[in-house]
């Protein structure tokens, strides 16, 4: 029997209906309630869970009390194991984090959660990439690639995974935008981390492409980068799963969300700060390897602020290597790749067409813009 954890962020999505561009923060929530917002996360979760109920004899559901799961799970036709406690009507991000941690302890096979980008961040904080998860979209902001396209697809995807009809897992981006800035009309998205989701592209959000060989493509990219590595040149490996493949190809320890340095195919340092990076590159020849954030396009300025304007200038524009699978580029086009280094002049210099390495002896000409 498979164990499934279910967590619902009951207030997710409330801000959206009343035009508040998010529901993070108590004050906003209060305002949303005053504007007449009604919780919808529960209803959307029931939609997903009903699909899962088709195989309910094969599942044990573990969930949190009342509006954080129990009610929806029961309505979908399950008899769940309810754990933890909440103050009904006053749940917060802390409850989501606590719930996810407890489900991790109980060894669930899959954690199904309903919410938006804020919720995905909370789940990431609690469990990282320890167990597979899948998001039921219920929030205002859905930039993270961990959500299914709609609640029913979430149910279908979870079902296939739990029946062992999909066995592969991929790491998907947890993104969020600054709600304050968003309310003022600016979009500023940040990469917070990765969650493990079942590899079922037609169910998971924001993936425009259908290739089933992305992993092989990424191996070929790593092979290409490693084969063309020059001696006595510092290679600055930026964050991301694509860039990590280079470290894996070199069999070196690496940081998924940090910046690592390699010299002569040996590790110099993991997870360096901007200052260390800058010092290391003084008087040395260096190259920076970057990838783009899927579906969104940033190559600089999101999740890799260590690679600062002075670091880039020290290395030189011509020594920036951008790598990405064609799938990822497909998910970004026709939008350009984006740079936001904080130095408008530099951003301007970095704009134009670049060659993105997409495989062995294979590249795509792609536009970069600030």
């Amino acid at each position: 029997m498979k164990k499934v954890g279910v967590i619902i962020n009951p207030i997710a999505g409330m801000g959206g209906r009343v035009g508040l561009k998010g529901s993070d923060g108590l004050e906003t929530l209060q305002k949303a309630r005053e504007l007449g917002a009604k919780p919808e996360a529960s209803q959307r979760s029931i939609e997903a869970l009903k699909v899962l109920a088709e195989i309910k004899d094969e599942l044990e559901i573990i969930t949190y009390p009342q509006e954080m799961g129990e009610e929806a799970v029961r309505k979908a036709g399950f008899e769940p194991t309810v754990i933890g406690s909440i103050k009904s009507g006053f749940t917060s991000a802390e409850d989501t984090i606590q719930a996810a941690r407890e489900m991790l302890k109980r060894d669930v096979d899959l954690l199904l959660f309903a919410g938006g980008d804020g919720t995905a961040r909370n789940i990431y904080t609690a469990i990282g990439t320890s167990i597979p998860v899948l998001g039921i979209p219920a929030g205002v902001k859905i930039h993270s690639a961990v959500y299914a396209v709609n609640p029913r697809s979430a149910g279908e995807a979870a079902k296939l995974y739990l029946q062992d009809k999909v066995v592969n897992i991929r790491e998907a981006e947890v993104m969020d935008i600054d709600e304050e800035a968003f309310r003022e009309g600016r979009v500023s998205a940040t990469l917070y981390g990765y969650l493990k989701v079942p590899e079922l592209k037609r169910f998971v959000q924001s993936v425009k492409s259908g290739t089933r060989s992305e992993k092989a493509e990424i191996l070929a990219i790593a092979e290409q980068v490693v084969a063309s590595m020059e001696d006595n040149v510092y290679y600055v490996i930026g964050p991301g799963t694509t860039t990590r493949s280079i470290m894996e190809r070199l069999e070196l320890p690496n940081t998924l969300l940090g910046v690592d340095i390699v010299l002569n195919k040996q590790l110099v340092a993991n997870d360096v700060t901007e200052e260390t990076l800058y010092q290391k590159l003084q008087g040395q020849k260096g190259k920076i390897v970057l990838t783009a954030i899927g579906g969104q396009g940033h190559i600089l300025g999101r999740g890799n602020q260590q690679i600062s304007p002075r670091v880039i200038r020290a290395v030189g524009k011509e020594n920036i290597i951008v790598i990405a699978s064609k799938d990822k580029l497909a998910s970004i086009q026709p939008m350009p790749l984006l740079v936001d280094t904080g130095d408008p002049e530099l951003d301007q210099e970095l704009s134009g067409y670049i060659r993105v390495i997409t495989g062995w002896q294979d590249s795509v000409i792609y536009r970069v813009s600030s």
């Binding site: 396209v149 709609n150 029913r152 697809s153 279908e156 296939l160 009809k165 999909v166 066995v167 592969n168 079922l200 037609r202 425009k208 492409s209 259908g210 290739t211 089933r212 060989s213 699978s325 064609k326 799938d327 580029l329 497909a330 086009q333 026709p334 134009g352 067409y353 060659r355 997409t358 062995w360 002896q361 294979d362 590249s363 795509v364 000409i365 792609y366 536009r367």
Partner: protein
Amino acid sequence: MTRDRYSRFRKFHQAKWDEELIFELSVPGERGVLPPLAEPEIENEVGDGVSVLGNLKRKKAPALPEVNQMRVNRHYLRLSQETLGTDVTIDISQGTCTMKYSPKVQEHLVARDPNLICVHPLQDPNTMQGLLYIYYQVEKFLREISGLDYFSFQPGGGAHAVYSNASIIRAYHQSRGDTKRDEMITTMFSHPCDAATPNTAGFKVITLMPDENGFPPLDAFKAALSERTAGIMITNPEDTGIYNPRIKEYVDAAHAVGALCSYDQANANAFLGIARAKEAGFDMCHFNLHKTFSAPHGCMGPALGAQGVKKELKKFLPVPRVEFDGSRYYLDYNAPESIGKVKQFLGNSAIVVRTYMWIMQLGNEGLKEAAKISVLNNNYMMKKIKEIPGVVMYYDFGIGKNRLEQVRWSWEKLKEDTGFGTDDVNQRISDFGIQHYWTSHHPWIVPEPFTPEPCESYNKDDLDEWIGALQEISRECYEEPETIKGAPHSGPVHRVKHPAINEEQLIAVTWRQYKKRKNIE
């Protein structure tokens, strides 16, 4: 019983036979044909025919199924009834494949005419003048259609022809002592072999992404060009069905840096007899005779990619070439700079013969009409499909509005509204007696894609039936999700799980592997 008078739907149900694998039908000792032993005088003359093999003789008999003739025949007929072959279905579904009708007289002749099927590839060319005449004539026709000067019929398919063209590009630069050119440029909506085969041939491949109008941006193209560019390999109209009217500017820019330009005309239905590679400035091209020129296409062959070049490049074409000395046709192997042999003997000659017959049946005006009707059929379908709920047409504005022989459609909205995407629709379509459709090459730039191509072969009733099935499936997605979930309902097998196909541990491609998976003996 006939079709429903108003909806035009048929109550289709396919045969289902629950047939075993041929290996499972094996009965030890059972035989289909028992060849007689040789008479003693023959054996005296040539030996037993086995000892001559020496060490090559296998130690154990091959593990082949032992099945009598009638049972073998029944077995394969049953399997054939479980497929939707091109002669029973309205084969509009496989866009980019140009599934046009091959007149049965052609099929009959290439399968049965002793003057064609009894030709031995090693017989004296003086004794196969008729076949060589056909080669020579077809080359003349293709010169006229493309404006280029010489053709080879050696490559055994479209990608093979593109590979051979990439090889010629390399040979051309090397013959000039220009060894630095190692880059080839193509576009994302060109056929994938325009990227894959030059890569296999050792080139670095640079691909252009489409802009918001679906065109490869000219400034990106220019940014990619350099003294390292060996050539460009490009399809036009691309797989979106959009024709790039500025193609000559790309060609001119490539020529300006010394690169050669190769035009992928695998599917030439959009412009046959109307626009030519020569006038667009190209140095080389290829035609898939098994697409545009009616030879059947499917089951991966036999196929033929006719490869054409300007006269300056003739010396690099594969050998042999059919030439005429004023009185006899002969095979010319004397081409020291040739890229060499790319296929055995004369290549797939039956395809050249079909092409000859097809062109002779249609004539000059007929070829143009074939192109015009393909474009007309597609534009009729375009108007109707656009109205189907859930369908999105990408690049549906500006110049890209006009489509030629096909359209790359998207079920993006259907997916957002209902959760059903292109794979789900595709599972259902066979319940209407229609072959599943082609989605798109990878990666999917147009999300949830499908790419039908009506060709000139189908009439209005056929088009309406195909479109009607799509309309009905869209309605079911919105109103009867259960019907879609379990589809196909009328086929010999039900839903095949897509992910399962990709999981190596679940598939068996040999009898030995199958036995292992199923734990048989």
